[in-house]
């Protein structure tokens, strides 16, 4: 980390060599008040309009200072720019240059001026793609770090909002900010998170979820540790609940820790609609999660182990439908679920030009043809359709994957012992989900233990909790303070 050389020419040569003589490095030499001044900038990262309009125009005026005065200090206080930093180490100069700053070097001085002239290389504020509301603000985070911070500040114009910033990644050097509201969040957790981020040793990080993975200890669960969202209004409401947000440069979404089971049952639109309709929506969501987990398992259990549970009128109909099918029930169920998952995955990845043919093939394969050919029974198609449709009610990818995993385990349990297997696996499921801790706060903190004040609030929505967020204040504090296991 060597210091800046007083000699301008040597300095400029050194910077050029260190960067490997890139073709987009621009060096402009000027003479200001009798001293040689060099302006360096990287064309692909900096905005030439700003450089021309402000810096060069100012420097082209006749600046006359007295001989003994410090030209650098004069320029530092007078250049018409709002962000001007004095740098004295070469590595910092290079970092600033690569971040889009303009460097002003004056012959004979050991300091350089870095002026912020970043070009806007990102998209504008667009609509949220994955988390839509029918009637509500639809703006989403973009890849620009400052715009993201601004979107949150716009909604929380309070001095309690605290931001701590650091840089992560040896080669990427992306900026990371940890935000929280001072009066509701737990400061110790925020500090621990910040320190751990500072200690990350990796080349590049693209995604705030990667940061959360790297700083948390137990990653053996299938349910996610953090809530990732691209909507600023949702992020704001999470911050108000006492949680901590992690914003990363170049990522159009932010991660909020700790996660709670409520987040996967809720949608931000619940807070905009009326209380009764939100409660009904939440109940439907809760029921559909249960349906999507249990339907294939209950079907397999009822038709292979516990035949007494089927209503008598349906029994003959099921038996008739199965009479031509070569597979056993379990194989059929696994096959249909796999086909649906493949269909969903290809639908997510395929380019638009193929999607039409995909729909046709999907409808044909899973519809009439398979049933008529006698490969699957019609009731199995219905069961897997119900499963897939109710599974789509959750849009958060990690949770969908978690549910998929558990659905498979339930199916295996049902295939091995019928209803007893389903009961055993549901005990396992409950024990697993209640033992997840995300940053010291238990995952199931709203349901078990139930929040004081309103029993129904996790499943339904109560009037108090819709507006009064202080009921959630203690929900996100870690349950075991003073322990290292987070």
């Amino acid at each position: 980390m060597s210091k800046i050389n007083k000699d301008l020419k040597v300095m400029v040569e050194e910077i050029k060599t260190k960067l490997g003589n890139p073709p987009d490095l621009i060096v402009k030499d000027l003479v200001v008040s009798g001293k040689k001044v060099s302006i360096l900038s990287i064309e692909s990262m900096s905005d030439s309009v700003i450089i021309n309009d402000f810096i060069l125009e100012y420097l082209s005026f006749d600046i006359k200072i007295e001989k003994n005065n410090n030209l650098l200090e004069y320029l530092y206080s007078n250049i018409p720019t709002n962000k001007c930093v004095k740098t004295e180490k070469i590595d910092e100069v290079i970092y600033n240059l690569l971040s889009g700053f303009t460097i002003v070097l004056v012959n004979g001085y050991e300091l350089a001026l870095s002026i912020e002239t970043k070009a806007k290389i990102n998209s504008d504020i667009a609509e949220a793609i994955n988390e839509r509301t029918t009637l509500g603000p639809n703006d989403a985070f973009t890849e620009n770090y400052q715009i993201n911070l601004g979107l949150i500040r716009k909604r929380l114009k309070t001095s309690e909002l605290k931001i701590s910033e650091t840089v992560v990644g040896n080669k990427g050097k992306s900026k990371v900010a940890v935000m929280y509201l001072d009066d509701v969040a737990d400061k110790d957790t925020a500090e621990i998170i910040f320190n751990r981020i500072k200690n990350i040793d990796i080349d590049v990080i693209f995604d705030p979820q990667q940061i959360v993975e790297l700083i948390s200890e137990n990653e053996k669960n299938v349910f996610p540790n953090c809530v990732t969202t691209e909507r600023p209004d949702y992020a704001t409401s999470l911050l108000l609940g006492g949680r901590i947000a992690i914003v990363l440069e170049n990522a159009p979404y932010i991660s909020v820790v700790p996660a709670n089971v409520d987040d996967f049952l809720q949608h931000i639109e619940d807070r905009y609609n009326r209380v009764i309709s939100s409660s009904v929506n939440r109940t439907i969501r809760f029921l559909s999660i249960i349906i999507t987990l249990l339907t294939p398992a209950i079907y397999v259990a009822m038709t292979t182990y516990n035949h007494e549970s089927i209503p008598s009128k349906l029994l003959v109909s099921f038996s008739t439908q199965r009479s031509g099918v070569p597979f056993s029930t379990i194989m059929e169920a696994l096959l249909m679920i796999m086909v649906f998952e493949i269909l969903k995955e290809t639908d997510a990845r395929a380019p638009n030009s193929y999607s039409n043919s995909l729909t046709i093939v999907g409808a044909l394969v899973l519809g009439e043809a398979a049933v008529t050919a006698g490969v699957v029974s019609p009731i199995m198609v219905i069961v897997s359709a119900i499963t897939a449709i109710s599974g789509l009610i959750v849009t958060y990818i990690d949770v969908v994957n978690g549910i998929r995993w558990w659905r498979l385990i339930f199916l295996i349990g049902a295939a091995s012992s019928g209803f007893i297997g389903i009961m055993v696996v549901s005990f396992l499921f409950i024990a697993n989900v209640t033992s997840i801790k995300s940053f010291g706060t238990p995952f199931m903190n709203g349901i078990a233990p139930m929040k004081k004040g309103n029993i129904w609030d996790s499943i339904f929505l109560s009037f108090e909790n819709k507006f009064n967020r202080t009921l959630q204040k203690d929900m996100h504090k870690p349950s075991n303070k003073g322990s290292e296991n987070k």
């Binding site: 007494e308 003959v316 031509g324 029930t329 385990i409 091995s416």
Partner: protein, 399 residues
């Protein structure tokens, strides 16, 4: 690491599933019939046919097989017989969905306890199936009859049982476990509805019989049969059964016809009613006091009565009350004298509500029952319903 262990264990158990049975490995039994011939059980099972006809989508047209199949075997225990059926049937019998069991008169006379242990003990069978006794005919013939309106005969018989008990009143459906409970309870004896077969059962087995408008073979529900301990001792006819059902509160709605002048009948329909039974002790002898109150509705008046005035309605009401009282008294007398079996539960009432007296007379209840006295008080109100005000025959006279 723990999770891997758990997964490993569950995967291990998938490989050797002991209780796994596919749906189409089962022969679904809709009903059984039990008969005892020469100390051997003769069981016939009615199996629902779940074969797919041709390809899917064209199942109803051109189907060639009957909707039910009947197998008949005999051995010395019921469970053995059911297993023996696999020597003929391609699938193992599954009795978890039995809706009704038909018992022959002979088997019921020998004793109900002989035939009930297997069905009670087996974990697969549901104990709520209904029982029916078939009189005078071989009982397995009743299983093979095809029905016009329902795919499965047994469903037809069940529906007929339910409807007859709701609308006509001479039978009351009784479940297997209810009958066993009655048998175990102190002080009440059980009853089972019975039926006979009319027509030619051989014709009824053929599929062509459903293509003719008049059913060739039918199962007709006749009334209730009386048990003592667990043996069948006799049958009640229509009217006595209706009286019994009235007394026990099993009737839901029935028509009571009675004569309102020398030639013509009038009918009233019972809407709802309540029966109160009390037993009082007079001179150390029990006296049964029965009080019936309820609402009825005039259904058909074929006499010349003016229903608009109070006297007309009172006249009909009194006749109706008399008729109901007669039905119940006949029923009690008949049972008392001919059968001597306390199916009304008088002794059970004493056991429950007057324990000390019951302890005294417990041993000699049979003689007491034969001479028991009773008083019946019937009080029905006539609700004013019906589309016409006056009776048809009364209109002409009014002019």
């Amino acid at each position: 690491m723990i999770k891997k262990l758990v997964i490993f264990l569950t995967l291990l158990l998938v490989t050797g599933c002991w209780d796994y049975r596919e749906l189409n490995d089962l022969a679904i039994v809709g009903s059984l019939s039990i008969d005892i011939v020469d100390d051997e059980f003769v069981i016939a099972a009615q199996i629902m046919n779940a074969k797919k006809e041709g390809g899917s989508g064209n199942s109803s047209s051109g189907s060639t097989s009957t909707p039910i199949v009947v197998y008949k075997f005999s051995a010395n225990t019921i469970s053995n017989t059911l297993r023996k059926m696999t020597t003929e049937s391609p699938r193992k019998l599954y009795i978890g969905h039995i809706a009704m069991v038909l018992i022959s008169e002979n088997a019921a006379k020998i004793g109900f306890k002989e035939i009930s242990d297997f069905l009670l003990r087996d974990h697969e069978s549901r104990k709520q199936f209904k029982v029916l006794i078939i009189k005078d005919n071989p009982v397995d013939q009743a299983l093979s009859i095809l029905d016009h309106l329902e795919t499965l005969t047994i469903q037809a018989t069940l529906n007929s049982l339910n409807n007859a008990s709701s609308y006509y009143g001479n039978v009351t459906p009784i479940g297997f476990d209810e009958f066993i409970a009655l048998g175990f309870s102190k002080g009440i004896e059980g009853i089972i509805p019975y039926a006979i077969l009319e027509g030619d059962p051989k014709e009824g087995e053929k599929k062509e019989s459903t293509e003719i408008t008049i059913p060739q073979a039918k199962i007709i529900l006749k009334g209730l049969s009386v048990f003592k301990d667990d043996k069948l001792i006799g049958f009640l006819d229509d009217n006595d059964s209706i009286g019994f059902n009235f007394l026990m509160g099993n009737l839901k709605s029935a028509m009571i016809p009675f004569k309102c002048d020398e030639k013509n009948y009038a009918t009233t329909e019972i809407i709802n009613y309540k029966t109160d039974m009390k037993i009082e002790i007079k001179n150390d002898l029990p006296v049964v006091k029965i009080k019936v109150t309820g609402e009825a509705n005039q259904a058909e008046i074929n006499c010349n009565v003016d229903m608009e005035v109070i006297e007309g309605r009172d006249f009909i009401m009194n006749l109706m009350n008399e008729e109901i009282k007669r039905l119940m008294s006949n029923s009690i007398d008949n049972v008392k004298e001919n059968f001597g079996s306390d199916i009304f539960g008088f002794e059970r009432y004493l056991y429950r509500h007057n324990y000390k007296y019951w302890k005294k007379v417990e041993k000699k209840w049979d003689e007491l029952f034969k001479k028991i006295e009773y008083e019946i008080d019937v009080n029905f109100m006539l609700a004013k319903k019906g589309s016409t005000l006056d009776s048809i025959k009364g209109v002409n006279n009014g002019e």
